[in-house]
Symmetry: D2
Subunit: 359 residues, 4 copies
């Protein structure tokens, strides 16, 4: 019931505040006997890490993960896997002025009202620093999925008004990772970097979009009628900080389409059934149909801007506030591994659930 766990069989619980001693999590329900590839996990964390490039926050965290349990001789034992990442480069004094003042479009006001108490340092529990634990969970989920031939690839498809219309089939991990904004479209990537640099000077921020493609998904993942695969994906993705929208397959564009145009014809090669088009986004009736799953995620601009903003304090007194601390201009480049991680956690959970669908 409490809100810090996700997954029914493969379940991740996260804990920790931005400026507390550590962020961490517990994965319960990971099958026993899985070989842990530590360098893969660390690499995933590095993709999310602040300070990884000129366009990201320069908070310095090595984000090294310490596993406390559930692994023996480099293999999972079936016991819960606990892990922590120490917070090292907190600069809590940057946040002193926020103790009694609410930053616009942050979680300060709502946390304060809901709980009657608030760890204001660095945003406390509401900080996106919490997502480091999601990436650890997601990377272990990916290890399971890799064995099953399922691969998840996210990339930045839009920043502000700069849109990439790259062909989904023409994207590789290398192209994505070699771009500082994780956009595999080289020309567009450059424009995105330029926009971010310009906004950094202006002290402003900008929204963006991530597209995610999952291939190798077997037919059958998803549990109607409420735990449809895309419904669980939507929840997991929407739970990421700053996400404002989710669409899969034809998404919002389907609104203007005719049924005759939208329907994905079934075809076959021998016994192998496939669809000619994929407006369904790889999911029909809430269950994967074997085609690529793809979805798109909208991120709002980061709320911390470096100019004066009107707001109120705890007593409702109007005041102004100005961004301090070390912040990104645009969240999406670093959010790619987070989106992938949440997708991986959902996929592996449904992959395991589906193993017991038939008698």
């Amino acid at each position: 019931m409490p809100g810090n766990s996700i997954g029914h069989i493969f379940r991740l619980t996260t804990f920790g505040e931005s400026h507390g001693p550590a962020i961490g999590g517990v994965i319960d329900g990971c099958p026993a006997g899985l070989e842990i590839d530590y360098s893969f996990i660390q690499n995933e964390l590095n993709r999310r890490r602040p300070g990884q490039s000129v366009i990201t926050s320069n908070r310095q965290e090595e984000d090294k993960v310490n596993f406390l349990s559930g692994i023996f001789n480099n293999k999972t034992t079936g016991a819960p896997i606990a892990f922590i990442i120490y917070n090292k480069d907190q600069q809590s004094s940057d946040y002193n002025h926020l103790k009694d003042t609410f930053r616009p479009s942050h979680a300060d006001y709502t946390y304060d009202q809901k709980y009657g108490i608030r760890d204001h340092r660095g945003g406390g529990r509401a900080s996106a620093r919490e997502t480091v634990a999601r990436v650890v969970g997601g990377s272990i989920a990916k290890l399971i999925l890799q064995q099953a031939g399922i691969h998840i690839l996210g990339f930045v498809s839009q920043i502000g008004e700069i849109i990439s219309d790259i062909d989904n089939n023409n994207i590789g991990s290398n192209k994505i990772e070699s771009s500082p904004v994780r956009c595999p479209d080289k020309a567009i990537s450059k424009k995105m970097v330029a926009l971010i640099e310009q906004l950094k000077k202006e002290g402003d921020t900008i929204g963006g979009a991530i597209t995610c493609i999952i291939d190798g998904v077997p037919v059958g993942l998803g549990e109607p009628v409420f735990d449809k695969l895309h419904a669980d994906l939507a929840k997991a993705i929407m739970s990421i900080n700053a996400v404002k929208g989710f669409e899969y397959g034809s998404g919002f564009a389907s609104i203007t389409m005719r049924g005759s145009e939208h329907n994905d014809k079934f075809k076959s090669i021998g016994k192998k059934i496939y669809t000619e088009t994929n407006h369904s986004g790889g999911i029909q009736g809430g269950i994967s149909n074997g085609e690529n799953i793809y979805f798109r995620v909208a991120f709002k601009p980061i709320a911390t801007v470096m100019s004066d903003q009107e707001t109120v304090d705890k007593n409702g007194k109007e005041t102004t506030i100005k961004g301090k601390g070390r912040h990104d201009v645009c969240v999406v480049p670093r959010a790619v591994p987070i989106v992938e991680s949440m997708a991986a956690i959902v996929l592996v959970d449904h992959y395991l659930r589906n193993k017991i669908a038939k008698n």
Copy 2:
């Protein structure tokens, strides 16, 4: 774990197939002492019912709900509330040709593969007829929310390329319900009806969008970090048949916005704090902030079209199929109470969860 329940405290479980004897559900966790307004519930069902107007399926179901438990002297007792709606106007023979053939963009293929067995009559469990149980659950949720001053209002904001840009503050239940397509914008409503009538002649279908507005929400609903209010809303809404996308507040439009423009300034009148704009859609950090919650939902066109379509049968043999049965041209007018119901179930669940947030 199984997929047919939703909600942690106020939990709805649904059951039933389109052409089975009955559709129904169980609500567990409804607080005791709630007065049941049967005519309100029936009215909600009538809003979803087929055959309610010229533009909807002419399957005739009175959709009368029978409560089996959990109510005594018209009040809830704290025991589970079970209810059934008998299926009466099944015409299963309409579906004989589907026994071994997969309709494009339906759930036939995926159910068949996942479970190895499929009740093909009327779409079986995958039929949108299942949503009648959601409306019963949602109407009881609404009774609780009404007492708390929370109101949910959905309406059709787009069908195909016909878009209403009506002011969210200028919408009333009467305006919505007096339109056959549930669009409160009179001129636009007429165009929508005309489009549907034309497509009906063509044997084709069309997508649409529903906008939903929730007012009176107290500050504090939502449980970070995974059960954020909008994340649970997204899951609940995405679990409705034919939904392809969800956005709240500024949604996908936030991608192109600057932080300085997107941020909602806090203001106050006395001790009462509010935001000047509402790009946040009434939710900050996953917790309601007291402003109106609003979100928009994309529905794909209905997959059943009345023209020949290529597809395959169970053995992968290519064949053609043609829509039979009684179907809507556009799902959104009847989906309005379903969207409201799912929102109500999420809201009441979080309303109850929030009662124990503070010591």
Copy 3:
């Protein structure tokens, strides 16, 4: 979270009051493709039915189960299985005098206080009539277990001071079912019947014990550290009306044993490992070890006695009350299939959970 569901993968939700229109339930998570043996299910219900013999309540209920969903061509489809049993022989007027008075050692007072409203007719939700739904759930669970070679056998091992010390290995279903009190020990069974008949004359009631033996359990069922197999069995069994104690294996007798005497030596025949003794009751570290599981359950005497008893009414005013209605003298003979059912639900849930323990 609400309390009317049990099981994580194979989940039974029950509903209904003793004098409402129906008792029923929903099983969600039953694997698809299971063949339903209706006569087996009905036979299980008959074993629990009132009026089955001279020593049971003469309420007449045929307890015929109606399945509403989840079954197609006699096989489960993976969709939720809903079922109802209509209440037919209610005599609610027998309970009019209880509207405002609390029967001693019943649930009247606590339901009234907890919920502020109470369906007093026939005990409402607290009536053991609810267990009819458990037997339906349990009988479907048994169908799954039978395929896996797991068999559950319960019998009455004690009524009042009359104890059977029959050898657990010398018990068959026939011997049990041919006894009106379900005690396979013929001589003891007669004594038990005589005791019940005598108490019936006296208008009094008596406690008893059921022993349950499960054979064919594979090694590996149970999920440490909280969902140990015996912990989940304990909860499921303790949730049955009138149960006051649970012990498995050596149980309370282990208190006085030495470790050297209690330990079960491992032996082997070829690769097959077994234990020489079975004080562990087939479970070690919360996980089944392949030996027979056995446990014993204590039932208190039924609270409804046919003599005047002092009590109070809603306002705390002291009064007397006298049993009316049709009641058993001793609950245990009819409780045997209920105990077996709860054990079956736990076993099948863990059987399915265990399928995903290893990578």
Copy 4:
């Protein structure tokens, strides 16, 4: 679904192995604003700690708890509370001989078979060292219960054949804690100590029983029909290492009682209703009735004995094994705070659940 969490609203997840770097846990769902009394928590841990007296294992662990999150200015924030206790005095080499051999009546064999991999050092996840995390969770639960006036008191009522028949109303914390075996009955306590000392010399172990009394419980805790208060207590208690039986109120003794004798008459003083006797153990129909809750728990003798025992190795080859390591002779003195902790977790979970029972 995974097995390492307990509680629906107040949920404890534990992790860690006996000889891993740390044991720990996460409490999610603790209400915000609770003041944390660190010395109380440490004192509870000290009660469970090995090496606390001459009769316990001399493994030296200071069992100091480190809180990582969820607390700010000594108050809970509503965020998950993570904590770790480092393992310091592991002597893993004591367990080398167990790598491929199964200790009788331990969890070695079942873990090995279930998971296909086993951390054999110190019993790994199956070690009772895991319960240190339960005591942290329980001590925070107790802080909530104390505010509500609910107190939990466990004591040793039996070791081997030495039974205390002390009056439940004549027991105080001081009397219990001043006894090295936690038996408040001074004369009996001495006999218990003598028995343990004798068995230590013999290299043998012995079972025991703990009685637990909970007073100050308000009417209304417990959620029928499956989450009855005593059912959840039974599960929580049975999940503790070495527990073989649970009974509450009249328990197994009720088997031989008549209804007329067992029923608890309701009485009143003014509006205040109470029962004259308390065979119900403070729970009726699964819901607390305001009287003292009491239950009794059976613990088997510890499986590690210091004499040669026959067993088998991984390949089924028969061999002998001899206890090494540092072990208690009788688990019950140190298990008292563990029993109390599990009871506290269940009580606080139901205390919070009950807050939303009524509309």
